[in-house]
Symmetry: C2
Subunit: 383 residues, 2 copies
């Protein structure tokens, strides 16, 4: 049905009407005092979200632009980096590092499994010559619905003493606790179309003081993604290049809503939705793709057996106007993914489970007692 | 007065209500068939605007991101480029080229003067060893309001036989004729907040077949700005990274409006507004900054004598809610700039001239016959 779409994908995520209305205002001059006020306010809001006293910079671009900026601003030609790879985004940061000629060591885990913190500890311990300049990893692996133990891994990096932690928090920030300063993270990348409850188009890079020290030595070529330019402008409540003014309007509104709700309540809501989505799927006999206990609070990946996941996903879209995400790369047809990230309430999760259950019933594929999925989901939502 | 702002700066430019409403819709999935339709349609619209049968790629980013992408995708380490520099943006492309270690030859003209095509011809003729791989220049120099003779310079580049023409058409595209294929341009960069009548946040890079051949050899490091990724996705009506979905909604609407008006009518409107702004300023005794006959159809820069341009500019804003642009760098306080680019009608230009005239009168600085500015502007608008 036209305009009836419900987004349950891990991005773009649903956007509140008030945020859309804020974004739909006529643009203003980006060098005006009025816009400076917005930059000042959103910078403070971003610090709150990242739980940091350091710089959080916004740039026109995707989450990948933000992560690439984080990587190329703190590393130099010939540097060695240690990358965690247990999904499509882990893979991507390896590609970015290689595109800039960095020497890349990879710690892998199978898709669906979490990265093993001990493997990082061992690799960092073995680096007696302190060759590893950064550890790059994805906190919530969007492709598999796995959450990695960023806190533990960042702890091992701090113990190493020299390496920086560069974290892709694109689908974890705003979904679960990512206390940048407390965990000692050095670079945190994120994107607007995720926990921020905004449309895509803004990327964010938070930088620690250690990251800025590394920036001073960094010699990888860059101009648009040169974060020093953004820092200099941000300190004057401005931007080095014309910023996406209307997305800033949306950012201010969305972060204001998040501040109203509060971080603890936001994290509790996401944890509840993870539990409810997992309970619903399990009760319907649909196996979860992420290893038990390692599911992301933002995305639940489901690997139905004996059913093409794409057939199920498309039927849910056609019948109920709910868009679920498919599997990426070799997981296409094997998994579907429920995004429960950002502007998602209990009703949305209950509805998604109900629609999946009704679709299985229509397809004659429901293997258990019809209604069991919704019942389990409802019980989990009740807490 | 709140929400009464009239933008007469060279970007962000005014945005039609229908474009804002299109942008304010709820986002859809960027991997959906519905979004593919939008990519397909906007790609065709972009080809129409660029007058090319080649690829025109859109990326989340500013005009600088687009230009940097254009430069680093067709050049390789150690390449020599010839840059035209007669303003802030010409200067910027020199900086980008140097940031990537390219060898840069510069042809300069004073700010306010056009680049001299003969100087390019001479430099290219002197390059018997065919070391120059690209000529980089700005068509409409936003900082000074000068239009450079891109057609003539591109002709000299074609005669050279090896070099590519990389043109910053950020404030010329959609304001005057930029027939990419006919002029033999190889890379054309632009940004959404200009002639496109949209908010900022999308950059565009058009590439000729010669540019793609150079891409195959290019070894400068890039990932997010790697245009090969965009081309591959665009050929499947998609994007390599999450695109700014709502800005695409705006793009489709804005380019649809432009197609309704037609290129010839759009160019005639901009030429008329240039003539009207110039006539109004001249009749009030306010000297034009750009050399006679070289004023941009997008921006008129004015260098008042005996008046701080910032005082005048701020007074126009405070009294009439019209935002003019100030001078950049060493021109701050020396010039103000009237943007008449994009969604600007005769009323807007007449109003801006009237507001400037009324402000001069209020300040006791009108040196001529009050009303002469508006009269001359009106006469020019009448054609």
């Amino acid at each position: 049905m036209q305009d009836k779409l419900s987004l349950m994908i891990p991005g773009p995520t649903p956007v509140p009407e008030s945020v859309l209305l804020a974004m739909g205002r006529h643009p203003i001059g980006h060098r005006s005092a009025d816009f400076q006020k917005i930059v000042r306010r959103t910078t403070e809001q971003l610090r709150w979200l990242h739980q940091t006293s350091g710089d959080v910079l916004a740039l026109a671009g995707s989450g990948t632009a933000a992560m690439e900026a984080g990587i190329i601003n703190v590393l130099s030609k010939g540097d060695t980096v240690l990358c965690g790879d247990n999904g499509k985004f882990g893979e991507r940061w390896v590609k970015v590092a290689k595109a800039y000629g960095l020497t890349v060591q990879v710690i892998q885990a199978e898709w669906g499994q979490p990265l093993e913190p001990e493997a990082f500890r061992a690799a960092l311990d073995a680096d007696a010559g302190k060759q590893i300049r950064a550890v790059i990893l994805t906190h919530s692996e969007t492709s598999t619905g796995v959450i990695n133990d960023l806190e533990a891994i960042a702890g091992h990096v701090r113990a190493h003493g020299t390496a920086l932690t560069i974290a892709d928090c694109v689908t974890s920030l705003g979904a679960c606790d990512v206390p940048m300063d407390r965990w000692g993270l050095d670079v945190v990348g994120s994107g607007s179309q995720k926990g921020y409850m905004m449309p895509p188009g803004l990327g964010f890079v938070a930088m620690s003081d250690r990251a800025w020290s590394a920036y001073e030595r960094s010699d990888l070529p860059k101009f648009y993604l040169d974060l020093g330019r953004y820092r200099k402008s941000a300190h004057a409540d401005s931007n080095p290049f014309t910023p996406p003014v209307n997305l800033y309007f949306a950012l201010e509104a969305a972060l204001g809503m998040m501040q109203e709700e509060g971080l603890e309540a936001i994290f509790a809501r996401h944890a509840r939705h993870r539990a409810a989505a997992q309970a619903g799927m399990t009760a319907m006999g649909l196996p979860l793709y992420a290893a038990a206990g390692h599911g992301s609070p933002a995305i639940t990946a489901v690997a139905p057996e004996g059913i093409d996941a794409e057939v199920l996903r498309k039927k849910v879209k056609d019948r109920f106007d709910i868009l679920l995400a498919g599997g990426q790369d070799h997981l296409k047809g094997k998994v579907f993914r429920i995004g429960h990230l950002g502007f998602v309430c209990d009703r949305d999760v209950l509805t998604a489970v109900a629609a999946i259950e009704a679709t299985l019933q229509e397809l004659g594929l429901h293997t258990g007692s019809v209604g069991a999925g919704v019942a389990a989901c409802a019980a989990a939502l009740a807490g």
